[in-house]
């Protein structure tokens, strides 16, 4: 998806979201690992933390964030979870990924 399309998609979804602004209005981009991200991250915080912190973190940046969530904040994730989550965040919300979409 081009940056322009990404922005248009975000705009369309945000207008829909305007009717009901709570964290259920935050929808992450589809991709491998999405379900795992939703289950793990939303245990403690809304998923807009991810969109907000994009697209400027590279893989190492996201890895640092996820590691902090496990080691400091106590997220109960296996090494497999962590790897899948980092891969998703890098692919969908990483520095070189397409513009962030809330769709």
């Amino acid at each position: 998806m081009s940056r322009k399309l990404g922005a248009a998609a975000a705009l369309a979804l945000s207008i829909v979201a305007a009717a009901q602004a709570d964290e259920s209005s935050v929808a992450l981009a589809p991709g491998e690992g999405l379900e795992r991200v939703q289950a793990a991250c939303a245990m403690c915080h809304s998923l807009d933390y991810i969109v907000m912190n994009s697209p400027f973190q590279d893989r190492a940046g996201w890895e640092k964030t996820v590691t902090k969530m496990v080691k400091v904040m106590g997220a109960p994730l296996t090494a497999e979870d962590t790897a899948a989550i980092v891969a998703y965040l890098d692919a969908r919300y990483g520095k070189v990924a397409p513009a962030p979409s809330t769709q």
Partner: protein, 402 residues
């Protein structure tokens, strides 16, 4: 509860016809701007008891104040920004107690709200409350964290009792090193509780309060009901909300939020004033750095050539007060003094204004910078640091003149 949200889009008005605060989208100095994902995920949304604010994250709630609100000398309680590390605690005033204890407290105490009001003298102070990460979203390159724009701050008259009076009532042992404050908020999972400490000199400062009121009304729950610390001049991380426990400690507190988080590289922003927390590498963030903000007209708005316009703004620092605010219309070659508003106290921000007449069609650029009474000036080049603190770059506002 009405929780309608509105998109902060690229045009002036959108869903619901609500005017979008354009400064949210405006680039700051050197073309810096909030991350694209931040803009895409921000909406105007109202928390309980609040007017719509700029939602950065829903849970925990992190909401910033639209800059246009800063036209007022004091930020209304329902427009005051909200920042939490975990869920907002819901406390009943009748059940709330403040405990003072610890190895360097001579007599442990426990007070109800009524007892504090009965026994201790009421004190008020006007002070800016500014999140350590205010303007983090404008750092270039971006750093992770809550991507705040200009509005993670506010100015209020805080009312309560002196922390010093409470501490002296408990009795401070000579071994006292720090005063540690904890609120009723609880960490998620096994994460670290949000607990902060103060050096004795700051805890005993006559302007450091246990506040029950802001702007003459009880604190909103999302701003720390029923009581929070007010630590004038220092960033808001120390202003513990919904405070329940104060520990007078005989050693430096080593919790995560002191030892690891809220730190700046040693010496990068001057000498530390919190010795017991210094390490070889870094120091805790403490005093607010001198800063200013152009409030109106909103940067990016249209001005008429040949018509006088009043640029208004605010300036503040960590408590020395504002000596002068200067404005440049020629990219920084020459500077002229803005007219300062009434002095509301050294910890308050100071309003300023500057009249000018844009002469020709095109872009008019206004730069504003403040100098504090202690001589400190704003940064001309951003001082990058890992957590994105102390953004006090000289601001640049572009207007379209037609």
């Amino acid at each position: 509860m009405d929780r309608r949200g509105f998109l902060l889009g690229t045009s002036g008005t959108l869903a619901g016809g609500l005017l979008v605060p354009r400064i949210v989208l405006a680039a700051g100095a050197d073309g810096e701007a909030l991350p694209a994902g931040t803009l895409a995920s921000s909406v105007l949304d109202a928390l309980p008891g609040k007017r719509p604010l700029i939602k950065r994250t829903f849970r925990p709630p992190n909401y910033e104040t639209p800059v246009e609100v800063f036209r007022e000398a004091y930020t209304p309680n329902d427009a005051f920004y909200v920042r939490w590390h975990s869920a907002v605690p819901e406390l009943a005033l009748a059940d709330w107690r403040l405990r003072i204890a610890g190895p360097a407290a001579q007599t442990p105490r426990e007070y109800s709200h009524a007892e504090i009001l009965r026994r201790f003298k009421w004190h008020e102070v006007a002070a800016v409350n500014q999140c350590s990460g205010n303007r983090r979203g404008l750092f270039s390159p971006h750093v992770p964290g809550v991507q705040w724009g200009y509005g993670a701050m506010g100015n209020a008259v805080w009312g309560g009792v002196r922390l010093k009076d409470l501490l002296e009532d408990a009795g401070i042992a000579t071994a006292a090193v720090e005063v540690v404050a904890n609120g009723a908020d609880a960490p998620m999972l096994t994460g670290p509780d949000f607990v902060k400490s103060l050096p004795m000199w700051k805890a005993l400062d006559p302007d450091t309060l246990l506040a029950f009121e802001m702007n003459g009304a009880p604190l909103p729950s999302s701003n720390g009901f029923p009581a929070r610390l007010v630590v004038p001049g220092w960033t808001a991380t120390y202003w513990i909300k919904s405070v329940t426990d104060v520990t007078v400690s005989d050693k430096a507190f080593d919790g995560f939020w002191m030892k690891t988080a809220y730190r700046v590289p040693k010496g990068m922003f001057g000498a530390s004033d919190f010795d017991s927390q210094d390490t070889e590498q870094n120091s805790p963030i403490t005093s607010i750095k001198v800063n200013s903000l152009i409030v109106g007209p909103a940067p990016g708005s249209a001005l008429a050539a040949g018509r006088r316009v009043e640029v208004t703004g605010i300036a503040w620092d960590g408590g020395s007060g504002i000596r002068v605010v200067e404005v440049s219309l020629d990219g920084g070659a020459t500077w002229r003094k803005a007219k300062l508003g009434r002095d509301l106290g050294r910890y308050s921000w100071r309003q300023w204004r500057y009249d000018f007449e844009p002469k020709a069609a095109g872009t008019a650029t206004v730069l504003a910078r403040a100098v504090a009474r202690d001589g400190a000036t704003q940064a001309e080049k951003l001082v990058h640091n890992p957590a994105g603190y102390h953004h006090n770059l000289v601001q640049r506002a572009d207007y379209h003149v037609a």
